[in-house]
């Protein structure tokens, strides 16, 4: 049994967790809700085991490196971070409906990694430029940031749904957290993500300086991460200085996550240095 096999099983566990969360939201029953949490925890454990196994396997192959070196490995880590950050929020806010909007993201990331024919799950040796301790710091901080933005994205959709029904007619929306709380949560997650995105860009810059002698080169991935950074910076300024809130912030959070996705996937179709992220 190798890590790829474990991780493809984990994909289905995430899928199951997502189904339970959605079922518990729609049918408002306690059983699927409890099952959902436990399945999600199981998925995270499996995910962790898969990552560790892959790490060990790479050492057995004699090319030992942290499993953060290509698109497959980054997607695996991405779903892990989304699930972990979500579970922390669930514990803190005691609301499982958020899970119906975030665990599907973990599932989708894993499913894309496991099933897309364009993504190889082979453990590949590191290219010379990737042989650096900054690799771990850079990829981890970036993806923690991305995960926070992903959850903020889910919560923004929840907010947009919830605020359409202010009188509380819809039973589906009645157990949503209050708009005020969703808004606050969105803001908190964006700040958390922004701190990590900032750190991710900075560790990347320091790494680039040690590898190529320039901390900034306007390479498309760098530029797109900066664009993402600017969008979220705008959101934070609009909220803190101009008192923006509600729908406008939710829309900006969604646009920000679209920029994250483009930075992550779209840029691979553009020419540049970051081709490692591609298949």
């Amino acid at each position: 049994m190798n890590s790829s096999y474990v991780l493809s099983i984990v994909t289905f566990i995430y899928g199951l967790a997502a189904c339970f969360y959605i079922a518990s939201w729609i049918f408002r029953k306690l059983l699927p809700a409890r099952l959902a949490t436990w399945t999600a925890i199981l998925a995270v454990i499996g995910n962790t085991i898969g990552i560790v196994m892959r790490w060990v396997e790479s050492y057995r192959l004699g090319i030992g490196h942290a499993p953060l070196s290509n698109l497959y490995e980054s997607l695996i880590f991405f779903s892990w971070t989304i699930a972990v950050v979500y579970l922390v929020i669930e514990k803190r806010y005691q609301n499982r409906i958020i899970g119906a909007f975030t665990t599907p993201l973990s599932f989708l990331a894993m499913a894309y990694a496991s099933m897309s024919p364009n993504i190889s799950d082979r453990i590949q040796p590191l290219l010379p430029a990737l042989k650096s301790n900054w690799l771990i710091a850079h990829v981890m901080t970036c993806f923690i940031g991305y995960a926070a933005f992903a959850i903020a994205f889910g919560i923004s959709w929840m907010y947009l749904l919830k605020q359409r029904d202010t009188v509380g007619k819809s039973g589906l929306l009645s157990h949503f957290p209050l708009p005020r709380i969703l808004e606050e949560l969105n803001h908190q997650l964006v700040m958390f993500g922004f701190l990590f995105l900032t750190t991710g860009i900075i560790t990347g810059a320091v790494w680039a300086n040690s590898a190529w002698g320039r901390y900034w080169g306007w390479d498309p991935k760098e530029t797109w991460s900066l664009i993402t950074w600017f969008i979220y910076a705008t959101l934070l300024h609009a909220r803190m200085m101009r008192g923006w809130g509600g729908k406008r912030i939710a829309y900006m959070s969604i646009i920000g996550f679209a920029a994250v996705l483009f930075t992550y996937f779209g840029v691979n179709y553009l020419p540049g240095l970051h081709s490692y992220g591609a298949v």
Binding site: P128, K131, E184, L195, W207, S210, G213, R214, F230, T234
Partner: protein, 485 residues
């Protein structure tokens, strides 16, 4: 009345007029300053600038930057190329309009920061923090409970509890009891200025780098030394006041064929003598006198030396001999002379590519010179010539040049300082707040009414939870101390 008096009479007038004129001028200047200050301090401008920089940056990710004009001409055609060229879209991050946006944002950051800081200065830098108890009483999220003891009995316990988690506190007498004001992290109000300052540091560092630093490259063949490099923009040469020699270059590959490591053995020479030696690989550069040498590329050089193998078909004897390109050798058994004249990376022979090959000329003892092709990959190739001698290349030394990126950036430490400041600043700004607490205890019969209220300049929801927790802890404090009693 003479002229002088006349003048004296008018002098004050004259002065007055000048003062007024100056005043108007100054007012106009002031007005101008004021209006531009007002223009630059708006957050709307920040939002517009941030979004325009974000939006225009996309262009440079769609059009590859700094390519050959021919490539652009082929890709876009003449008219579109002209338009793009006018707006510097082929080097847009260094174009006047993009720099203008960045300068605008810089001024915006500075003006906003100064404006806000001068407004909040008095709040941030105070000796005795002011408290207004009625403000706390008006808060909707205050907690209240009743304690069995009198305010006097409670004061010490509460004081020691609050002093543990708040940096500053003071007790004030109120009607029928006391009130503890406490606060912490007032300085975190400066966090946002730290972030703004860090952005300025990044820009200043980048400016220092672009004015006083350089960015270039140099290719050094194995065994050779250079004392100058080529700069990246423009074809200028930058002289180094030392020599750098490549003693050796090695490239290794994984089984899959992907490159594993590029390694250059470099020596720094001062007055011909090596003073520093280092093997550099990607991610581990050599630094000397503030100049960094990065492993960035490599390439093959035509070999100089090779081992020739040849067979006399008549006698069946096989020979092996080392030679260098251009060196004529005398063949044994009176077979004539042979010279390897050249090396080619790729040779086509009758429409077939035979890859790397050496070109030689055989001059037999009696007869005309014959052209001999020696593909490195096919040792038996020369047999097809059906000559008296069959030549082949037994081996040759692959020579490489190492491609180094050479940079000097005196601004990099300023940028790094900005990096650290930005991370710390973001953390302070987002996750730390100036928290103020007010605990009022008043006597009601033999018992006390306790009110706990607090404010924070950020994360108000979090502060509400904190107030609840503090209030709960004060209640628990009561239980434990009564249990002790």
């Amino acid at each position: 009345m003479n002229g002088k008096n006349h003048l004296i009479f008018f002098e004050p007038f004259q002065k007055f007029k000048i003062t007024i004129a100056n005043g108007i001028l100054k007012m106009a200047e002031l007005d101008y300053l004021k209006s531009s200050w007002k223009f630059f301090k708006s957050v709307k401008l920040s939002v517009i600038l941030l979004l325009s920089i974000a939006a225009t940056s996309i262009i440079g990710t769609l059009i590859p930057q700094n390519q050959n004009p021919e490539k652009y001409l082929n890709a876009f055609g003449e008219p579109l190329y002209r338009i793009f060229d006018v707006f510097d879209l082929f080097d847009m991050y260094h174009s006047w309009w993009f720099q203008l946006l960045i300068i605008g944002l810089t001024i915006n950051i500075i003006v906003c920061s100064i404006d806000r800081l001068s407004a909040t200065w008095k709040i941030i830098f105070v000796k005795i923090p002011p408290f207004n108890i009625s403000r706390f009483k008006k808060l909707s999220n205050k907690e209240e409970f009743i304690d069995e003891r009198t305010p006097k009995q409670l004061q010490k316990t509460y004081e020691s509890f609050i002093s543990k988690s708040f940096g500053y506190y003071r007790v004030e007498e109120v009607d029928k009891g006391f009130c503890i004001f406490a606060e912490k992290w007032r300085w975190t109000r400066l966090g946002v200025y730290k972030v703004h300052l860090s952005v300025l540091l990044l820009l200043v560092g980048a400016l220092i780098g672009s004015i006083f630093g350089f960015d270039g490259y140099v290719n050094i063949p194995e065994g050779e030394a250079v004392s100058s490099i080529r700069l990246r923009n423009g074809a200028q040469i930058q002289n180094l006041d030392f020599n750098i020699r490549c003693d050796d270059f090695n490239v290794s590959f994984y089984d899959s064929g992907a490159p594993k490591e590029f390694r250059s053995k470099l020596s720094i020479l001062e007055a011909g003598k090596p003073v520093l030696q280092k093997d550099i690989v990607v991610n581990d550069p050599l630094q000397y006198k503030g100049i960094n040498f990065f492993q960035s590329s490599y390439g093959p050089l035509p070999p100089k030396e090779l081992t020739l193998s040849f067979k006399n078909v008549k006698t069946g004897k096989i020979y092996s001999q080392n030679t260098t390109i251009g060196q004529e050798i005398e063949l044994p058994e009176d077979m004539g002379k042979f010279v390897v004249k050249d090396y080619r990376k790729s040779v086509d022979f009758r429409g077939q590519n035979v890859g790397e090959a050496f070109l030689g000329t055989l001059t037999p003892k009696d007869g005309n010179s014959v052209f001999v092709l020696l593909p490195a990959r096919f040792p038996s190739f020369d047999g097809m010539r059906k000559g008296d001698i069959i030549f082949s290349v037994a081996g040759y030394n692959q020579r490489y040049y190492t491609g180094l990126q050479v940079t000097n950036d005196p601004g990099v430490w300023v940028v790094y300082a900005g990096f650290i400041m930005m991370i710390v600043g973001c953390f302070i700004t987002f996750f730390m707040s100036h928290q103020r607490l007010c605990v009022e205890v008043t006597k009601k019969g033999e018992k006390s009414v306790v009110m706990v209220a607090g404010t924070a300049n950020k994360n108000k929801l979090g502060m509400q939870n904190k107030i609840k927790k503090i209030s709960q802890k004060l209640i628990d404090l009561e239980k434990t101390s009564t249990a002790d009693a």
